[in-house]
């Protein structure tokens, strides 16, 4: 896993020619030479560069930090009614949970020209500590244990261990309480899955801080240098990017099957859904009423919203790879999810999606943003 890093620097100039480097270069000449370099590469070399160019772990470090915060919040939210979700007498009680995983037949279409189906199994590979822990005391012990792991992941202490335990914890709730799941759970699991592989603790973590302190204590003159570029950072970033493109493409193509997305009324179905939207807030409802009283404006906004969603979701997987359009796509996606978060109450889901989009943001940009604006400001204020 991590050993993918070996020998890579010799083939890629220590990451200085990474794909991310090219996009952030301001010099025209550098751009031209990079283009020429790319043009001169064969298909295999391009493929190799795409997956195995070492890049700085800033993006991955930030994604780990945000994922840690999100999973901590998500797990913490179970605390309000923990036993209702994972207790033996919860909404999905122990007997039903066991039935779902051990005795639910699954069928597939037969391999001949008929309507027949074949039962292939009655079990599925659901797993959870909460299938076997029925005492409320132990359920709470494990819950607090998972919360601690989430916290450690967020602050970057024992990063990989805490990430793997956070993933195990997230799946423990998900498999045991399938009735309470929604899109956010799928997204957080995607983030956790990739963070298990990623070197997320290499930066913006206590692991990194303690490592620097050890080096300083040992008299290393380069103790304060930035983490070196890693192949694994790039590899995981690429996986996140491709996964995100699949999510968007699937979302767009499935929407295109619905007539309301074509005639521009789908957005109304989303915005005027009382159970999802803040329609209990009078300002929001007044805004909707205002729109309905101005049909042309209503039509323009609803149609624009539908077109924006469909165009963004369907074009993102193709255009985000173009260095000129990349930032438009990223900003468009962040805007879409900010809107979903604010208007539909799906804040955590939107934050998960925005965290995934960060996979497209060059690590150099994140480094400059955090080092200059956050750490720099913190240092100045300390002085």
């Amino acid at each position: 896993m991590s050993t993918l890093n070996e020998g890579s620097s010799s083939t890629t100039n220590g990451g200085k020619n990474s794909i991310f480097d090219r996009t952030t270069s301001s010099s025209k000449n550098t751009n031209n030479s990079a283009n020429n370099l790319e043009d001169s590469l064969g298909w295999f070399e391009k493929f190799d560069r795409f997956w195995f160019t070492p890049v700085a772990p800033n993006s991955i470090g930030l994604i780990r930090l945000l994922t840690g915060c999100l999973i901590f919040y998500i797990t913490l939210c179970y605390s309000f009614e923990l036993l209702a979700f994972v207790g033996p007498d919860g909404i999905v009680n122990q007997a039903l949970a066991d039935h779902f995983r051990k005795d639910t037949p699954m069928y597939v279409m037969a391999p001949e020209w008929s309507e027949n189906t074949i039962e292939i199994t009655k079990t599925n590979l659901s797993w959870s500590i909460f299938y076997h822990t029925t005492s409320p005391f132990w359920i709470w012990v494990f819950h607090l244990g998972f919360l601690s792991a989430n916290f450690f992941m967020a602050v970057g202490l024992f990063s990989r261990t805490s990430t793997i335990i956070s993933w195990i914890g997230a799946l423990a709730y998900i498999h045991r309480a399938p009735s309470g799941l929604f899109g956010m759970d799928a997204m957080i699991v995607i983030l956790l899955f990739y963070m298990m592989i990623a070197p997320g603790g290499e930066i913006y973590s206590l692991d990194h801080f303690f490592q620097k302190m050890r080096r300083k204590k040992a008299g290393d003159p380069n103790w304060n240098e930035s983490p070196k570029p890693l192949v694994l950072s790039n590899f995981v970033t690429r996986m996140i990017q491709i996964h995100f493109c699949i999510i968007y493409f699937a979302a767009a193509t499935s929407k295109l099957q619905g007539s309301s997305w074509w005639n521009g009324t789908a957005l109304w179905g989303v915005l005027a859904n009382y159970s999802f939207n803040p329609m209990h807030i009078s300002l929001y409802t007044s805004l909707l009423v205002f729109l309905t009283k101005h049909k042309v404006l209503w039509e323009i906004i609803m149609t624009t919203g539908c077109v924006y969603t469909i165009v963004l979701e369907s074009s993102f997987p193709f255009l985000v790879w173009n260095r000129k359009l990349k930032w438009i796509m990223i900003c468009g996606s962040i805007t879409l999810h900010t809107g979903i978060g604010l208007l539909m109450g799906l804040t955590t889901f939107s934050l998960c999606m925005i965290t995934l989009v960060l996979g497209f943001v060059p690590p150099e940009f994140i480094k400059s943003l955090i080092d200059r604006h956050i750490i720099g400001r913190f240092r100045r204020s300390s002085v």
Binding site: T3, G180, L181, I190
Partner: protein
């Protein structure tokens, strides 16, 4: 380098702890809690050793050989863990077995030459994304079966991986159409004649937005419709209408011109079981009325309510999104305190109980609230959130 920085030491400690648990399993099988604690501790320590090895390997402070050795050690520790658990912990045995295989694979991977590593990594990428694509494409499109190839590939090759890691989502958000939300309204009837309504989701009772969203998902889990056509449909409809007319006050009959799927929503087996489990959950949550611990639950009536989305035309006319006529309640059954459906032949079971307003504009607006009538509530119906009291 201090001892804490030696990954092999961590893994060796983990193996010792796990072997102790294995020994206890043979000698003192009753010490379940202690044994489980040792296994959990061993797992965390072994995992920490692996993590330390990975981090050191990234900084070129550890050879691939030692990384592989650490990983093989972790694999051995997990193998012992797998064999130290009671058979009843089946899902954890499965998990531990999978982790054993994965760590063995990672150990071998660490020893591979660079080209082989890259090839293996790309093979993993191909498998991973192929499986995700089958998850996306094996969903049935509207009014048509799903792709045969995608469903078969999913079922035979990728299902296990996707289910285990919960990567099985099809990402069909708000598609093909954004639908109306489903609510669950339950009337808990106590032995002394008192009752209480419990509705989910409910913004005022959910402590935070996340809890509210999860409750909304719970209601959706009861909304999986059965694909079977009901037997003796005409007879069923006639029974339902006659029972409605015989009721005092009468419950609005359903018009035959309406579509069957609109009037009758029988849940699939999954949703029926969910409803039964939910009823049982309510009996534990609201065992007694407030301040009457001696009184027990008599029955729980559950209604699944589709809350239609207000049309822009109606909103422009000043109507409310909470207008009672936008709610379409379906009776999901009356359950006893063990969560069993009391009468599977109830004439109203799975039928719509329409909430309508008189159509004559010259008469004062009155609401015909079949749900309240069916539930046995006799008092007037305030037109506020939820419609019924």
């Amino acid at each position: 380098m201090n001892l804490l920085q030696k990954p092999t030491l961590w893994v060796a400690t983990a193996i010792l702890l796990t072997l102790s648990a294995f020994g206890l399993n043979t000698l003192f099988p009753d010490l379940v809690t202690f044994r489980a604690s040792l296994l959990v501790l061993g797992f965390i320590i072994g995992l920490s050793g692996f993590s330390i090895a990975c981090a050191q390997n990234l900084h070129a402070n550890l050879s691939n050989g030692v990384l592989a050795l650490t990983t093989f050690g972790l694999s051995f520790e997990l193998f012992i863990t797998t064999n130290s658990m009671d058979a009843s912990w089946d899902s954890l045995i499965l998990t531990s077995s999978v982790f054993t295989g994965v760590s063995l694979f990672v150990g071998i991977f660490a020893l591979l030459p660079l080209l082989a590593k890259k090839t293996t990594a790309i093979c993993f990428v191909l498998f991973h994304f192929a499986s995700i694509v089958t998850a996306v494409t094996s969903i049935e499109p509207p009014n048509a079966p799903a792709s045969w190839l995608a469903t078969n590939l999913w079922a035979y090759y990728f299902r296990h991986y996707l289910t285990f890691a919960y990567l099985n989502n099809a990402y069909h958000f708000y598609s093909p159409e954004p639908g109306p939300p489903v609510l669950l309204w339950s009337k808990i009837q106590y032995g002394d004649g008192s009752f209480r309504w419990f509705k989910i989701p409910n913004r005022t009772e959910s402590p935070i937005q996340m809890h509210y969203q999860r409750m909304l998902s719970v209601t959706e889990s009861t909304n999986v419709a059965s694909s079977n056509t009901p037997d003796n449909w005409e007879e069923k409809l006639q029974r339902r209408n006659l029972a409605g007319l015989a009721n005092q006050p009468q419950i609005t009959p359903l018009n035959r011109s309406m579509s069957q799927s609109y009037m009758f929503k029988e849940p699939a087996d999954y949703s029926k079981r969910m409803l039964s489990s939910y009823a049982l959950y309510l009996t534990k949550k609201f065992t007694h009325p407030v301040d009457k611990p001696e009184v027990n639950i008599d029955n729980i009536k559950i209604y699944r309510v589709t809350h239609s989305i207000i049309t822009p035309t109606d909103m422009s006319r000043g109507e409310s999104a909470l207008d009672a006529t936008l709610y379409y309640p379906y009776f999901m059954g009356s359950f006893d305190k063990k969560g069993n459906l009391i009468d599977p032949n109830d004439a109203f079971l799975y039928f719509l109980l329409p909430i309508t307003r008189n159509a004559n504009p010259n008469e004062p607006s009155t609401l015909n609230h079949s749900l309240d009538i069916h539930a046995g509530d006799v008092k007037a119906v305030p037109e506020k959130e939820g419609g019924n009291p």
